[in-house]
């Protein structure tokens, strides 16, 4: 594969709380290729958003990136000064947030907010920036952009505000677009529109995109690659077809199994993964998922699970998968 746009190695973002250290992200590694969409999937509290914030270096105390490195092209993001980072944010890396209702400054017009970002990063004149803002608003599908430039956020619906936020995020044609659950707060009917828009724009700009979601339907529609997170750690990573067709990690299996299908009979029970995800404050050694895992073994409680390159092409972090692979490998080896 080509040189990745973004590569994250052994990222650890911890929050020092009075009750202990919350290991929100604990040893995460992945690569993002240009033009591809990586979906980060996981339950609430699995560290998806903290991962995004870490990449943007928006982690605030008591949180801190304690280890790992994040490279954007050939730049080490963790070594940049805050000022250099400000240049990068919204310029080379754009971010879209979960709640469009509260992500815009209520006291300035939409136009002012788009123009502000453009001027901050490109040094364009006010006139150029305004022309560009109109163009961006048209691009994200806001009707009559000229007239709406002077409207305030409260005069826009949720879907329209998310379009505005997308316009701001792509104003400088970023290399990476990070979307943190961009449709969670929207009506179902609007969700598909926004996702299609994001997909169109990502293709048009040729940027890479990190899409954070807990909706596996969104993943199947949008992703090229999938990273499944659980309790701050990666559990499985691979391209979307592999993950959906051959999920290996028991957690991924459970997630896919809990999707409601139309042909399920009404009497059949909704499947779920029993138990709740642990809060990773001072986590014990071993696999965080073991208490809910159907394939849990003794070793899961004592040793951190290994990274296993599976025969099917994904990477799973699991003792059970290692055992399965070992058995399969041995079987293959034995056959002449």
């Amino acid at each position: 594969m080509s040189e990745p746009v973004l590569s994250v190695r052994g990222l650890k973002t911890h929050f020092r709380l009075r009750t202990g250290t919350l290991k929100a992200v604990d040893g995460l590694s992945f690569e993002l290729q240009a033009g591809r969409v990586l979906c980060i999937v996981g339950e609430s509290g699995s560290g998806k958003s903290v991962t995004a914030q870490s990449i943007m270096r928006l982690i605030e105390l008591p949180g801190r990136i304690v280890d790992g490195d994040i490279s954007f092209r050939d730049q080490d993001l963790l070594a940049l000064t805050e000022h250099e980072m400000e240049d990068l944010r919204g310029n080379r890396i754009g971010m879209i947030f979960q709640d469009p209702m509260t992500s815009l400054n209520p006291v300035f017009t939409i136009g002012e907010q788009i123009v502000e970002t453009i001027i901050a990063h490109t040094g364009a004149s006010k006139e150029e920036a305004r022309a560009r803002a109109v163009e961006l608003m048209r691009l994200v599908g806001i009707p009559e952009p000229e007239g709406r430039l002077t409207d305030y956020p409260h005069q826009f619906s949720g879907g329209m505000r998310q379009r505005v936020l997308i316009a701001i995020a792509i104003a400088c044609e970023p290399d990476i677009l990070i979307a943190d659950e961009p449709t969670t707060a929207l009506d179902v009917t609007i969700q598909a529109q926004i996702l299609r828009l994001l997909s169109d724009i990502q293709k048009k700009l040729g940027s890479a995109m990190i899409l954070i979601t807990h909706d596996l339907g969104v993943v199947s529609a949008m992703a090229d690659d999938v990273l499944v997170m659980y309790s701050g750690r990666m559990v499985e990573y691979g391209d979307v077809k592999t993950i959906f067709r051959n999920p290996r990690h028991p957690y991924t299996l459970g997630l896919l199994d809990s999707i409601i299908k139309l042909d399920d009979s009404r009497e059949s029970e909704l499947r779920s993964i029993s138990g709740l995800p642990p809060i990773p404050i001072n986590p014990p050694p071993g696999c965080a998922f073991r208490d809910r895992c159907v394939k849990a073994m003794d070793v899961c409680g004592t040793q951190d699970p290994p990274w296993v390159e599976t025969a099917t092409g994904s990477t799973a972090v699991c003792h059970a998968v290692e055992a399965e692979e070992g058995a399969a490998g041995a079987g293959q080896g034995a056959a002449p």
């Binding site: 928006l58 971010m95 947030f97 709640d99 006291v107 305004r130 022309a131 109109v134 409260h154």
Partner: protein
């Protein structure tokens, strides 16, 4: 979507600089008009504004419109309204009440408005700093302010005024200092809550620098409650100023402000209640007017209240 112009395309026709300037002016004018409409929806605020304009004009032109010299006895002591040809009667020394009210407004407005405005400015800077930076900065600034806070406002003002020479400048300075902790607390609390709004993180993700976040995101979103609070303090400060003058730390007799007139009137309260009632009434009305103006300003500053 399909016929949307390319990202690099210059689809907008170029406008001349003059056009743009005219357009900017137009937008500014429109914002002002909308703000005025939001303000004007509050009838009490409009009434208060008109009233205050009249009061301020009277104070400014007091030397020309006062029927008598405010420091000279022109009637009987404690003369009731209408006696000696004095519309509002005379005070305990027989000075014309009406003229004294006109002149007193000059001092009262000054010691009500100037310290409050000055203290608000200082408090906004301190509160923003403490609230935004948090941590040690918060601790240092707020603990120092807590020390001031521990004394009652009036007592603190008395201490400061006592050190300095009596006069209007002393009044203004001492009230300003005493007032800062009160407003700074509010600014800090509001700053902390605005700081946690998602649009702050979104702004940072868009590459906004700290000065931008402070001036364009936190300050304008924090200002409304501060303005409402500050305007209600104006009336109170007029009274506090009079208290200081009563103790001989501020205005010196025979000059007067409204508060001093109230306290002077005590001596003849039974015989001439009007000598206390008129200035007291004026203080109440003016204080109310400032609070109404504050409410109106809050609406004018809030884009959600502005309607086309």
């Amino acid at each position: 979507m399909t016929d949307a112009p390319g990202l690099h395309g210059q689809s907008m026709r170029q406008r001349s600089a003059a056009d743009l300037r005219r357009e900017n002016l137009h937008i500014m004018w429109r914002t002002l008009t909308l703000a005025w409409h939001a303000y004007a929806k509050d009838k009490a605020a409009v009434g208060a504004l008109i009233f205050m304009i009249i009061v301020v004009l009277i104070a400014i032109f007091a030397p020309y419109i006062s029927p008598h010299d405010p420091t000279e006895a022109v009637g009987t002591r404690g003369g009731l309204p209408g006696t000696d040809g004095l519309l509002l009667g005379g005070d305990m020394d027989g000075r014309d009440m009406l003229s004294r009210l006109f002149w007193g407004g000059r001092v009262s407005l000054l010691i009500g408005v100037v310290p409050t405005v000055a203290a608000t400015f200082i408090a906004v800077v301190l509160g923003l700093f403490a609230g935004y930076i948090g941590g040690w900065a918060d601790q240092v600034v707020m603990r120092i302010l807590d020390v001031f806070f521990a004394f009652p406002l009036v007592l603190l003002a008395i201490v400061i005024a006592g050190i300095l020479d009596p006069g209007v400048a002393t009044l203004i300075l001492s009230i300003t200092v005493a007032l800062v902790p009160y407003i700074a607390r509010l600014v800090r609390t509001t700053t902390v809550s605005v700081k946690q709004e998602p649009y702050i993180e979104a702004a940072r993700a868009g590459g906004a620098t700290t000065p931008t976040i402070l001036t364009r995101y936190i300050l304008p979103n924090m200002l409304a409650p501060v303005i409402v609070y500050s305007t209600t303090l104006i009336g109170l400060m007029m009274v506090v100023g009079s208290g200081l003058s009563f103790l001989g730390l501020g205005i010196q007799p025979p000059d007067a402000d409204w508060g001093t007139m109230v306290s002077d009137g005590r001596a003849v309260l039974k015989r001439a209640p009007h000598a206390t009632a008129f200035p007291g009434f004026v203080i109440v009305i003016v204080s109310l007017a400032f609070s109404f103006i504050g409410d109106g300003l809050r609406d004018a500053l809030d884009p959600r209240a502005r309607v086309r």
